[in-house]
Amino acid sequence: MVLVDIDLCEPIVPIDVPDTVDGLAVIARLDGRAIGFSMRSPLSGKVTADDLDRHLGATCGPELLSERLRQSVAGHETTRPLDPTTMTVAVCTKDRPAGLGRVLTSLGTLQSSADGWGVEIEILVIDNASDDPSVRAVAETHGARYVREERPGLDFARNRALAETSSRWLTFFDDDVIVDPTWLRGFVEGLVAHPDAAAFTGLVLPARLDTEAQVLFERRGGFRHGFVTRRMGRQHPVDPTYPAGAGSFGTGANMVVRVEAALAMGGFDPALDAGAPMPGGGDLDLWYRLVRAGEVVVYEPGCLVFHDHRESTDALARQFRDSWGRSFHAFIDKCYRTDPPMRSAHRRYLWRWYRAMLTDLARSARGRSSVPPRYLVAELRGAVQGMAGDYRRAVRRAEQVERDHR
């Protein structure tokens, strides 16, 4: 699909969608702030400004009105800078020098605007035992601090970042994202509105939609959790299973933690987010523990990054199986074991999850779901595997890694 980023403070221009392409995806902004995302296909040929005008009105009219109302009430003055504070921006990476280079380049604008916002920024690259020596070269070219973490596993790398930082805030970006220039403004606005937050998660939009797998993933929701700031605390207004699952909190590819709060939680769990076969769950686990301890996690869509989704359908199917199947359910298994008061909530959550998955699978078999059955079957298989002792095995594996690297 052709992916366009339109700011409605500028006049709308027509777009040409070539025949080789499936359709059109639109990121809508107003004055720099992202307010909506939509996909239209099949679509090809010339999309006139009027077409786009109508499309944008239909897909994000109320969001547009909301932003205009907010601007009118809050005034056009941009948010005030913070009392001086410090932030370490950490990118944990393994053997992906090109991706790392892109993230670090995009952080250039972040750094140059940081003083104006009252934030002193340090960029830190945690090289998670890359075999490729150019990773270090890329980090040093961009003037980032370079640290090598020998214990393989994303959560080992994250904990190393926690150990290496002396800032108040620690931000994590994955090595396959591009950080939007408005990110820091979004963080400052989120912090000003919620000064007691222990963690922030941000909006992740697709960087491109070139392959079928990328389009499929985004159709299923991608990493999007909406365009409205959400504050997550002890309880949820209507969901009795909250915070079981912690799925809607955000995505670890774009998150900030208050260092002292993360350390009080004992950091990230190295059994999770350990690479295959457990390539996920570490972020959810930390947010879950934070809110259970009475802390506040804020989803702030103003913290915007763009992500390179998996290109091949095989890789996507593996992601369904291993990230959202196995790792997710291993995380739920861990919560179930370690958080007894929440057991009935977890049981109810799982019941709902399986019921929704099976309904979706039935719809998918009839061609009425956003993804073909293959991916849902993979996710279900991963889920069943994940519940069957995967977490305990992962803990033993992590302990072995620690021993190997003593």
Binding site: L8, I12, A28, D50, D53, R54, L56, G57, A58, C60, G61, P62, L64, L65, S66, R68, L69, R70, S72, V73, A74, T79, E189, V192, A193, H194, P195, V228, T229, R231, G233, R234, Q235, P237, V238, D239, P240, V296, S344, R348
Partner: protein, 420 residues
């Protein structure tokens, strides 16, 4: 239904004005039921849980706008939307962008001249043995701007003189006495006493918003024969008041609604949702409509079957081909019953009045959807309540099932015994 799995607790009722926001919300030690306005227009409400408090000004801006957005959108871009009708297509983005100032546009559509008198509308309050409540109500009526042509108090066979004395203490209030006990008899006496083109009813346990009459009168310009308004809580000091507000609200939200006769043609299984039209505590009529369709039916009175005399009238109006508009910016503030026993009696009364009304509606119109609702839909709703209670989605303090079922049966029995 927000906070449904959680126990209903007392809350602070607070209003904020988006045109003049405070520097945030302080923490009163309990949740806040936040009413959101913009320069006198009621636009939304949201329950703010304790762990969102204290709230910064920036977070308050976002919370208040989120609460007001659906109503502002509808007022600006879908004001004619028929209730349960086809959704209005959204305008192009340029329509939203070209608004010079959305708030100004909102006020241009909704504001009325606040000075002077609406000389073709009379306010009627039916009351019985509640002189203190009546006094408070009349004080709020004196603050109406614009003011009504006249105020009539219908004393429904009060046992002593106190009601008449309260009425006489307020200038410009006419006192009428109706000896036959029953709210619908009193309302009919009010209709007989009114000489202006329009009349508006409210109850004695209500404080009216200063813009109430102006908003009701404006709504008649669009052509409905009846108009209903919003009912907001004065206080939520007891669990019963909270349960009533959250689960049995008299107010029908902040989005304007048009009830049209097309609601009837939705099939035999779907009864006309007349319980959504509005509350007897806030309703206005073009007086001559009663000559056409008749008056309130005294069989459905408080004290008799329950209190659905007004919803049966909505039914008759729609069946006769007329429109009713719900105007959320025409606001009254209601003091809910404080104790659990009174709440239970009220719910029981709602259900008995409702089932009796369904049977009266069927009797008059022969529309089978009324019976379908009685025999299929209501029991199915109760079954869902049982499931919700079992799954933890509904807190036990909110489940009023025995009272509902008892009330429903009482209404059926009452109707069968009093059939004409």
């Amino acid at each position: 239904m927000t906070l449904a799995p959680h126990p209903p607790v007392p809350m602070d009722v607070r209003s904020v004005d988006l045109a003049d926001l405070p520097d945030g919300l302080t923490d009163p030690g309990r949740p806040i039921h936040l009413l959101v306005w913009h320069a006198g227009l009621a636009l939304g409400a949201v329950d703010v849980p304790s762990d969102h408090l204290p709230m910064t000004r920036e977070a308050l801006v976002q919370t208040a706008i989120e609460a007001a957005l659906p109503a502002v959108w509808c007022h600006l871009f879908a004001p004619e939307a028929a209730f349960l009708g086809r959704p209005t297509p959204r305008p192009p983005a340029s329509a939203v962008l070209e608004l010079d100032d959305p708030w100004k546009e909102l006020h241009k559509r909704l504001d009325v001249d606040r000075s002077g008198t609406v000389d073709d509308l009379t306010v009627v309050i039916c009351t019985r043995d509640r002189p203190d409540d009546l006094d408070r109500c009349l004080i709020s009526i004196q603050a109406l701007s614009p003011s009504p042509a006249e105020v009539v108090v219908v004393d429904n066979a009060s046992r002593d003189d106190a009601t008449r004395q309260v009425a006489s203490r307020h200038a410009g209030v006419r006192y009428v006495r109706e000896e036959r006990p029953g709210l619908d008899h009193a309302r009919n006496a009010g209709i007989a006493a009114v000489t202006t083109t329009y009349l508006a009813f409210t109850d004695d346990d209500v404080a009216v918003d200063p813009g109430w009459v102006g908003q009701l009168r404006r709504a008649f310009e669009a052509g409905p024969v009846a108009v209903t308004g919003n009912v907001l809580p004065i206080e939520l000091e007891t669990v019963s008041q909270t349960v009533f507000e959250q689960d049995w609200s008299l107010g029908k939200g902040f989005i304007p609604r048009r009830f049209t006769p097309a609601l009837r043609g939705r099939g035999r299984r779907r009864a006309m949702p007349v319980w959504e039209v509005g509350a007897g505590a806030n309703m206005a009529f073009r007086r001559d409509i009663f000559d056409e369709i008749g008056e309130f039916d005294p069989r459905l009175d408080v004290g008799a079957a329950g209190c659905s005399g007004d919803s049966e009238l909505w039914y008759r109006l729609l069946v006769a081909g007329h429109e009713i508009h719900y105007v959320p910016t025409a606001v009254v503030h209601h003091r809910h019953r404080r104790d659990a026993a009174a709440l239970k009696r009220q719910i029981r009364g709602y259900l008995s009045g409702h089932t009796a009304a369904l049977l009266v509606q069927f009797e008059r119109s022969r529309d089978a959807s009324n019976l379908v609702r009685l025999v299929v839909v209501l029991p199915r709703n109760w079954y869902r309540v049982i499931l919700a209670r079992a799954s933890g989605s509904m807190h036990p303090d909110r489940v009023m099932l025995p009272v509902q079922v008892a009330g429903a049966f009482a209404g059926v029995r009452y109707y069968l015994r009093n059939r004409r």
